[in-house]
Every structure is written in structure tokens, then in C-alpha cells.
């Protein structure tokens, strides 16, 4: 085992930036006041939260009063979807989403199906893109919500959110987007995109885990998800996670400040990696659209081998990445996203996702390209499926 660790799994989570930790720290031990309290350290907490809210609002082009902090991206998704569904069920019970949403959206929709709602799961093409036309066609008189993710967490595909937003607006249907993977990776402006609700999660852009936010456009009818105290203007109970919220605010500011430069760097690493893998490794398939994809996302299927084995061998070489294999998802089936873009189970089991981030360099890619082809070859040599191919049957 090597000591060096190269982290290629920024889509799973990111380290918290030192500047972010630094801003959070005082709120643990000194400025620890409850933000609902009226004495000085309580007011300081309140102020810190409102500053963070301003930073988030600025990053999204929203108003501060439209930003609500949550305990995670998943909570934001649950709140947005259940909240709009239950609050608008007098108007209809139909929800439109896609087959490649994150489980936080997918399982929430499935839960709503069990409670009398009707959900259309739009298919995607082989590149993982939903068609705007299909969205339009799926709209029915009883449609109350469209929820379509901004960028996919596995294959990185970026959806035509602005066009979908336009259709939603024209049809007077609420539009939610899970932008957990998009924030800090690509520019996001809620007004240009015509989204009514948007979820984000701090730990995906170098902020802390366990804190997210939901953008709720002014006027959107939505019920409360977490009942209790009057925090977040009475809409989301729980003593505010002040350090977490401060961290989210700082992280989103940093992430959106240098977005262009950051993107360029990631696209460079991404494109080089895609090209080199394509050149050096046979029997592969790039998953997700070649261009409409997140700057940091590379996702390949390697035929004849299984993803967990690949990850373990990479880990032994000090490389951290992820896979859509069933073995790593904790379920029986490989990733629903890979199946939705038409991969067979076999090939889906053999996927590898590399997601670049801040600390990654071209040297990291050099090392990956040194190690990966050998590991793939080694596993293939062990595979009864490859044997057959080599023999030509």
C-alpha cells in the first residue's frame, strides 16, 4: 500500500477547504449562541447565518428570503418534492421526473406514488440526456411538479434546464432541479433558468457535510417538511447548524468566485483522461454525453470486469474513485443511471467514475494512466468473460 492518496471522487464528496474550516471554527466554541436567542452571542449567530444566506442568494441570483438551510441535499430534495406535492394536491397529483435522478429524488417520488400521486419517469437517450420535447409531451392537466436534475452525479450529463424551465413556466407548473452536482461546477442562476426550487449540498463544493439549502422562489406553495420551532422563518425547524451554515456560505462564495478558471482546469484534466483511456484501453465505453457533461466527470465502462474489484485495486495503488457496480451500491442491481442509458447489466457492473477536483493535477492523471490500464488488464486476465472473447466466442 502506498502512502500517497490521489482523490478522484469529488462527485461523492470533497474535503472542506481550510478557509472554510477557519470561518466555521469560532462558532463551535466561542460564538456558540443559539441564533434564536436575543443576547449578544445569539445575535452574532443570527448575523452569521444571514450573511451566509446572502452569499448563497448571490451565488444563485436569488433573494435572501428565498434561501432556506437544510440538513443535507437529500433533505432539500425531500422537502421540495413532498412539500410541493402535498401543498398543491388540490390542483393535481402528477409529477414528471427522469429515470436518472439521484435516489433522494427517485425514492421520494416512489414514496409519493404509494401515497396516491402519479409519477412519469422520463427515459433518457444513450448519452443520458432527457429531451425537452418529451418533457412537454408528458405534461398533463393534473401535472403539478417537474423535477429534473441539473447534472447527473454518475455520468455527469447536464440537462437542458433553461429550456425545461421555460416549458414549466409556460404551463404554470412548478419546476424543481436537484443542482447538488451543478453548484460549484457550472454557473447556475435561478432566474435565467426559470427554476422555482433548487437543491444544493455543501459537501459537494468543499463545504461541510450535513448542511444543504433549498431555494424556494417567492410565492411557491410548499408545505413544511420538518415541523417544530420557528427557525428559517417558520419553515424549517431545528436549532440552526451555525458552523455548518457559515461553512456552506463561505464555500459557495469561493466556489462561484473562481468558477471559470476552475472549470477550465477540470475540463482539461477530464478531456485528457477521456482521450488517453480511449487510446490505451480496448473494450471500453464512455458513459454520458461527451460534451454536455460536468467539467470534472469521467465515466467509463470496462467490459469483462467488475467495478468493485477495479476500485479495490486502484485503492491499493492509492487512487480513490467510484463505480456504479451493484457491489458498491449496496443493492442487487448496478446503477439505475447506467441501465437507463441502455447499458447491459454486465457492462454496467464494470463502470468506473473519476471525478476531478481542486487538488488534482496532470501528474495525478499521469499516475492514473500508468496504473489503470495494467489493473484493467490484470482483472481481465482473471475474468472468464474475457477468456471467451479472446478465444472468439
Amino acid at each position: 500500500m502506498e502512502n500517497k492518496m490521489i482523490y478522484f471522487d469529488h462527485a461523492a464528496t470533497t474535503p472542506v477547504k481550510p478557509e472554510v474550516v477557519e470561518e466555521m471554527m469560532p462558532y463551535y466554541t466561542n460564538k456558540f449562541g443559539n441564533a434564536s436567542s436575543i443576547y449578544s452571542i445569539g445575535r452574532e449567530s443570527k448575523k452569521a447565518i444571514e450573511e451566509a444566506r446572502e452569499r448563497v442568494a448571490k451565488a444563485l441570483g436569488a433573494m435572501t428570503r428565498e434561501i432556506f438551510f437544510t440538513g443535507s441535499g437529500s433533505e432539500a430534495d425531500n422537502w421540495a418534492i413532498k412539500g410541493v406535492a402535498y401543498s398543491n394536491k388540490d390542483r393535481g397529483n402528477h409529477i414528471i421526473t427522469t429515470a436518472i435522478e439521484h435516489h433522494a429524488v427517485l425514492h421520494t417520488c416512489q414514496y409519493l406514488e404509494s401515497d396516491g400521486f402519479e409519477v412519469t419517469y422520463l427515459p433518457v437517450d444513450e448519452n443520458g440526456l432527457v429531451s425537452v420535447e418529451q418533457v412537454r409531451k408528458a405534461i398533463k392537466p393534473n401535472t403539478i411538479l417537474i423535477t429534473i436534475m441539473f447534472a447527473n452525479n454518475e455520468i455527469g450529463t447536464i440537462q437542458p434546464i433553461a429550456e425545461i424551465g421555460k416549458i414549466a413556466k409556460e404551463n404554470n407548473i412548478y419546476f424543481h432541479t436537484d443542482a447538488v452536482q451543478a453548484i460549484g461546477s457550472i454557473p447556475v442562476n435561478v432566474n435565467e433558468l426559470n427554476v422555482d426550487l433548487l437543491s444544493l449540498s455543501a459537501h459537494k463544493f468543499y463545504g461541510p457535510k450535513g448542511v444543504g439549502a433549498l431555494y424556494i422562489r417567492k410565492g411557491v406553495k410548499i408545505t413544511t417538511f420538518l415541523h417544530g420551532g420557528a427557525q428559517e422563518r417558520g419553515r424549517r425547524a431545528s436549532t440552526e447548524n451555525v458552523p455548518g451554515i457559515v461553512g456552506l456560505g463561505k464555500a459557495i462564495e469561493l466556489a462561484t468566485e473562481n468558477l471559470e478558471q476552475y472549470n477550465k482546469k477540470l475540463i482539461d484534466l477530464r478531456d485528457r483522461t477521456i482521450e488517453e483511456i480511449t487510446k490505451k484501453v480496448p473494450f471500453i465505453k464512455l458513459n454520458g454525453d461527451r460534451y454536455k457533461r460536468l467539467p470534472g466527470n469521467v465515466n467509463f465502462s470496462f467490459e469483462f470486469i467488475e467495478g468493485e474489484s477495479l476500485l479495490l485495486m486502484l485503492d491499493m495503488k492509492g487512487i480513490a474513485a467510484s463505480s456504479g457496480s451493484a457491489c458498491t451500491s449496496g443493492s442487487l442491481d448496478p446503477s439505475h443511471v447506467l441501465l437507463a442509458i441502455g447499458l447491459s447489466h454486465e457492462i454496467a457492473h464494470g463502470s468506473l467514475r473519476i471525478s476531478f477536483g481542486d487538488e488534482n493535477t496532470h501528474e495525478d492523471v499521469d499516475y492514473l494512466m500508468e496504473v489503470l490500464p495494467l489493473i484493467v488488464e490484470r482483472l481481465r486476465e482473471m475474468s472468464p468473460l474475457y477468456e471467451k472473447v479472446k478465444r472468439g466466442n
Binding site: S325, L332, D333, H345, E346, E381, S383
Partner: protein
């Protein structure tokens, strides 16, 4: 997650490969489920004198394959048939609960190979629409312990 022994057998699997003119070959699992194990045996006087494998699957699948080949060599076919998945897992210092099904694969591959041997040697009718040949994924994958 995995014990050191599992990782050792995964990173340095024993007996990977094929046996030319093997006396028995057993293959179980299927690609759809994400794991296939193929075992080759060399058998003399009903004693297994060599074993090799190829496996498509997770770390545990590779390690159990490796360990299974180690366990069968030197055993009579009767003895080999008694190797349980539990024994394979124990020989590896245990497997995580969600990975126990991978040790099933090893037990079944051994059984399938010996069946093949018995068929080849005329001691058993070919009978292979059953258990080990075409299982569904959720037969071999234990459901995760989700709702207690």
C-alpha cells in the same frame, strides 16, 4: 471492510488461470448479477490434485475463489463436496455480511465442477437446468438488512 486475508487473496490470488484438459469444469453465477466463477479441476483417483479459477466479480468473489481452490486441492471429491460457503468464509477470517453470497459462489462452483466430473465419468446424468446453472440474482445475493 474486508479482512487482511481477504485482501491478500484478492490482491495475490492463488491459482488463477485455466487447466488445459481439465477433468472437471464448473461455472456458476452470471454476468447480469455481477459475478461469475469458473473453476477447473485436475482429478486423479477421485482426488483433486490441481485447481485453477477465473472469476468476474467483486473483491470477495475473487478472494473466495482463490481460497476455494486452495481448500479443494488434496481432497477427495467427497471431501470437496462437503466444503461449505461458511468454511470458505471462515478460512478468509470472515466476510462482511453483505458479501456472504460470494462464498456461496465458491461452494457452488466446486459442486458444479464435481457434478461435471461425475457426468463425464458416467456416474451422474447431466441435469443442469437446476440450481447452480441459471439462478436469478436475488437467489445468490442476500437482501441487505434494511428494515431489520
Amino acid at each position: 471492510m474486508y479482512s487482511e486475508k481477504v485482501m491478500d487473496h484478492f490482491m495475490n490470488p492463488r491459482n488463477v488461470g485455466e487447466i488445459e484438459n481439465a477433468d472437471a469444469i464448473g461455472e456458476v453465477g452470471n454476468a447480469k448479477c455481477g459475478d461469475i466463477m469458473k473453476i477447473y479441476l485436475k482429478i486423479e483417483n477421485d482426488v483433486i490434485i490441481d485447481a485453477k479459477f477465473k472469476t468476474f466479480g467483486c473483491g470477495a468473489a475473487v478472494a473466495t475463489s482463490s481460497m476455494a481452490t486452495e481448500l479443494v486441492v488434496g481432497k477427495t471429491i467427497e471431501e470437496a463436496l462437503k466444503i461449505t460457503n461458511k468454511a470458505v468464509a471462515e478460512a478468509l477470517d470472515g466476510l462482511p455480511p453483505v458479501k456472504m453470497h460470494c462464498s456461496n459462489l465458491a461452494e457452488e462452483a466446486i459442486k458444479a465442477a464435481i457434478e461435471d466430473y461425475l457426468v463425464k465419468t458416467g456416474r451422474l446424468e447431466k441435469n443442469c437446468d437446476g440450481e447452480v446453472c441459471g439462478r436469478r440474482c436475488d437467489d445468490i445475493h442476500h437482501h441487505m438488512d434494511i428494515e431489520d
